[in-house]
Every structure is written in C-alpha cells, then in structure tokens.
Symmetry: C2
Subunit: 263 residues, 2 copies
C-alpha cells in the first residue's frame, strides 16, 4: 500500500502524521501535499527506503529526473545496500541524535515536529579560526563543532557550503563518526567535488551518506531529505514500517504485496 493509498483509507487524522514534515497542518495544505506526492509517485518507484529519498528529492526540486542524481554510500549492520544510509539516519532520529546543519537555511527547513532531536547549526562557531586561517566561516564552524564532539553520532547535514562538506570529510578521516550524512551543496565551484569526497570517505570509513551528483542541490534539498529520515523514523515508531530490512528484502516484500493485490 502506498502512502497515498493509506491517506485515502484512513482519513483526516492521518494527514497530519503523514505530512507534518511538509509543513502541512491545514486541510488545504494537506490536500496539496497529498496530490503532490501522488504525482511524484507516478514517476518514482515506491519499493525501498532509497525510493522514499528519491521521491522526496523530486518533490523538493520540482524535477522528476532528479531521482537519478541521488547516491547512497556506506553501510550499516545489515549491509551496504541503498537503504543503509536511510536506515542509519532513521535509527539516529529514533535515538534522538543531534541534527547538525551547516547554515541557518538548512536548519530552518528541517521540521520541528515528529522527533525529539536537537537541531543545531554550525555557522556562527569558529569565527576566530576562520579569521586566522582565511578558511570559510562554514568550514571553520564545522571544525570547531567537531572539536566539541558534536558530530560524533549526529545526523550531519551540509546543504550549502562545499567547504563545510570538505571539512566534515576531514573530520571523518580523523576519526569522527556521524551516524549519517546528508550532503547536497550546490554550485559551480567544488560542490560536486565536495560530494564526491564525502562519498569516498563514506565508503572508506563506513559512514552512511546520502548525496547527489552534479551541480545542483542546496539547503532546501538537504532539509527535505533530512525530513524524510524523520518521516521514516516516525513510521517505524508508529509500527507502520519495519526498519531492519535490506533494500532487496523490502523490494521483494513490496513487490510481492502488489502482485498479491493484482492477482
């Protein structure tokens, strides 16, 4: 059963649970959110947790082809399948880990509802380091927060600054272990390179990460994907979703289910 179908079946109260992360709390807003995600699901598969991230990327970017630009790297105890970073991120939400963003915009876009994680932003820290070294304020802020141990076990979100993603990769190389990374810096200078570096570090040190390829991305995308981790965690908490399945197992289950209905 897709989420859209569940919505139609269960009626009013369900809407709020489903779409709180889209900011929808009134009937009109929920209708829009429902219609919008139904449109997205016509074009994006709905089998794995990775698919949910792809759906959210398409919804956030207003672009159906964006689903093909999402990458999943790193592994958890179940394996290195595409769902690993989604499982890891959802587990971290359930464990009330800190969500650390690079800048204010990414933080502002992450819902306050449906979770008990503290939301923090890096920017505003490390001003002296930035001044001394000439590095970007966001890079310095990441290094400063890392010194304070904030990134260990966190959901580390980089929506805007390539230099913050590079700094985060350096921290991981030096021993820091975020529970999961969401990195989608946008732009023409080092944005793609910074995400490539996150992917390499993710694979090397088994830190699960969700990134995109290409020049596009941004704080809105980073916030949306983080919100989907929160949404997945919420579905686990309400027993609507079993978290401990690989993408293959989930795909078989969902595929089988649909075949059963068709038969």
């Amino acid at each position: 059963m897709t989420e859209g179908e569940r919505l139609k079946t269960d009626g009013g109260q369900e809407y709020e649970r489903e779409y709180a992360d889209l900011g929808a709390t009134t009937q009109n807003a929920m209708d829009i959110a429902e219609t919008s995600m139904d449109i997205v699901r016509q074009f994006v598969p709905d089998e794995t947790l990775g698919d949910r991230i792809r759906q959210k990327s398409v919804h956030s970017m207003g672009d159906i082809e964006f689903q093909h630009l999402i990458e999943f790297t790193g592994s958890d105890d179940l394996g290195d399948d595409e769902d690993a970073p989604v499982r890891a991120g959802a587990r971290a939400v359930l464990e009330e880990s800190t969500i650390v963003t690079d800048i204010t915009m990414s933080k502002a876009g992450i819902t306050g509802r449906g979770h008990d994680c503290e939301k923090r932003k890096a920017i505003g820290n490390g001003a002296e380091l930035a001044k001394e070294t000439g590095m970007t304020r966001t890079a310095a802020s990441v290094l400063e927060l890392d010194k304070q141990g904030v990134y260990d076990g966190s959901i580390a979100v980089v929506g805007n600054a390539p230099t913050a993603a590079f700094a985060l990769a350096d921290c991981i190389e030096n021993g820091t272990r975020p529970a999961a990374v969401v990195a989608t810096p946008v732009g023409f200078v080092k944005a793609e390179e910074s995400r490539q570096r996150i992917r390499e570090i993710s694979e090397e040190f088994d830190v699960p990460a969700i990134t995109n390829v290409g020049r596009r991305g941004g704080s809105g995308l980073a916030a949306a994907l983080t919100n989907e981790l929160i949404h997945v965690a919420k579905d686990v908490r309400t027993d609507e979703l079993e978290l401990e399945l690989t993408a293959d197992e989930r795909g078989d289950q969902n595929g089988g289910h649909e075949d059963g209905e068709d038969a």
Copy 2:
C-alpha cells in the same frame, strides 16, 4: 568592466563589498564566490539588471539553463522593460522597505548585510484564520499581514508556498501595492499556476515582479534573487551603478563601453 574584473583590479577590500550577499567574508570563501560568479558570467549575459538576476538564478540553482526560466513583469516610471522589477526592488531596498518572506527558510537565506530593511516572515501569523477556513497556514499568514498593512510598499518574497503566492495576488487585486514581488514557489501542484497568477496581476496592476516558469524554484532561489536586489541597491549607494536607466539604455552603454575597450 565585469564585476569579476573589478574584483581583480581593486583587490582585498572590494571582495567583501561584492560578495557579502553570498555569505563570503573570508578569503577562501571570496575566492570560491568570485570563481563561481566568473563561471556563471561565461554563460549568462552581463548587460542589463535583468542579466544580474539571471546570473544569480544560475548561481543559486547550479544550472546554466535556469537563466531562460526567469520572467520580469510589471513596470516602473521608466517603463515596462525587463529591468523594471529590479530597479523597483533596488529602490525599495534603498528606501529601507520591509522585506516580507512567506516562510522561515526564505528569510534565513536573505543577507542581513548591506541594507537597513527589516526582514519579516509571514508564517506564524493568521493561525486562527487558517484553523477556521482550512486554508494553508502560509496563505492565512499573508492575508493577516496584509490586513496589518505590512505588504504595502514592501518587497514581497514567496519562495515556497503556492497558496501564499495566490493569497498575495488576491491582496494586490484588492488594492495592496508591494514595491516589488519575488515569487518562486516550487513543486507539482499549483506552483507554476501561482506564479502565472502573480505575473497576470503584476501586469494588470503594474506591480513589478520577478518570477520563474516551470516547476522548479524554491526558498533558496527566492532568497538569492532578493539578495541580488540588495546587491544592486548597494552598487547604487556606492555610486558604482546608475539605477535610472532602462534595460536598452544600459545594454547600449555596456555594449558601447566594451567596444571602446576593444578598439
């Protein structure tokens, strides 16, 4: 002379003035911002004020083709050329008009440097109206702020919610006159339609507006374009730019200037 060239000529202090709106205050950040805008300028014309908005859209979206999706509507005293909404927006910044965004993300992305405009967000207002009517919280918040007279003479920014753009259009139809509108809601349901409505209202009531066509957009884009209005205003304040020219006059001037240098 392009901004990139001016940067190279004038050295250090100039950087901060030029790229404060990109959040760049350290040397490393300014190098990235400079390189990035230089790349953008290879692909986007650099003659009119409209071109500066196009450049900023490309920079913000990480997509060179996005320049072709930007629309300019409405007019000012000089005419209805593409620069009209940029001139109107820059004038409003110089007059320290209020900048009103729909949601927190758009507000968070608008620089606090280089201007004395108050930044406000609509969301958080009109909760009762939303509850009573079932309209979206952002739509209700726009109507509530409009009742308080906040939108008259303001720079009205809608980055996320189509329903906020529709509500803003209704307010304009009912007599409210923002100094300029920046509207770039993203998504599959009513986003494009809401911007189309803004364009029609903009033309009908001569309220200058910057919008995009298609499904893409978002809070990051809205903030970036608003930051470019602030940037243009800053250039006017520092006598680097004469504001009271039409796009044609500016194009002739810039074209002529370049020919002169080449000769």
